[in-house]
Symmetry: C2
Subunit: 117 residues, 2 copies
Amino acid sequence: MRQPDEKAGPGALYGTLEVMILNTLNEQGPMHGLEIARRIEERSDAFLHVEEGALYPALHRLKRQGLTDGEWRISQKRRRARFYEITPRGKKALEEEVQQWLRHTNAVNKVLGLEEA
Amino acid sequence: MRQPDEKAGPGALYGTLEVMILNTLNEQGPMHGLEIARRIEERSDAFLHVEEGALYPALHRLKRQGLTDGEWRISQKRRRARFYEITPRGKKALEEEVQQWLRHTNAVNKVLGLEEA
DNA sequence: CTAGTTTATATAAATAATTTATGTAAACCT
DNA sequence: AGGTTTACATAAATTATTTATATAAACTAG
């Protein structure tokens, strides 16, 4: 016997990590990578876990696309850390990606017979 | 200028295709691969598109896991086709995966500030 | 009657974003 | 001085897609 899974399985972040990062920066202001990961985990009530191997490549993708910019600063705990901030383009992308997330979950929910038949 | 995307982008199916297949078989009875794909597309109001290269590997995974079984029959259009049926184990898995989908979307929605704060 | 289209399955190769496993470095603690 | 914590980084492995082909049988047009 096993308790039903209270955590997301492998691949659960797929496609949603970038929009969650952008939203975290948009709502809570500039912060560094590990702090973003912690906020996402907390806000999901520890359902999601953001691995560092997923986090940093995602942050680099967002930076490369001009959706964030970042600068080296010193964290609360006195370590050098890259603080990211959402850009105007990032805000626009965030809005679109949130809409896309809603359309997507809606579509899957329809297929699963879970609402809005 | 470009119309906002009304369709899911690449990778949109990631992680949801199997549960959608199981649900389709559970609700609508035995049917063959291409028909499953069509039903999913229709029920999502053509938002989702199920590529054959995603469909058949997913069907094989489900079969290997004992969540469906299949037999060769003749389709409405007189072609040989493998008709799949959900098994009792498949029904149990479906329930769990639907619950997992709900927990997952809920977690992402919380992070995005979209409900159930 | 035969060439082209449609239906149906199948699979290899390419792509993309994860997970897992390490590594570096500086700050803090004992 | 040595061990732990914080923070970033990246390579390798994994997984599930997308894209591109291939096969084969049945229907359809000329």
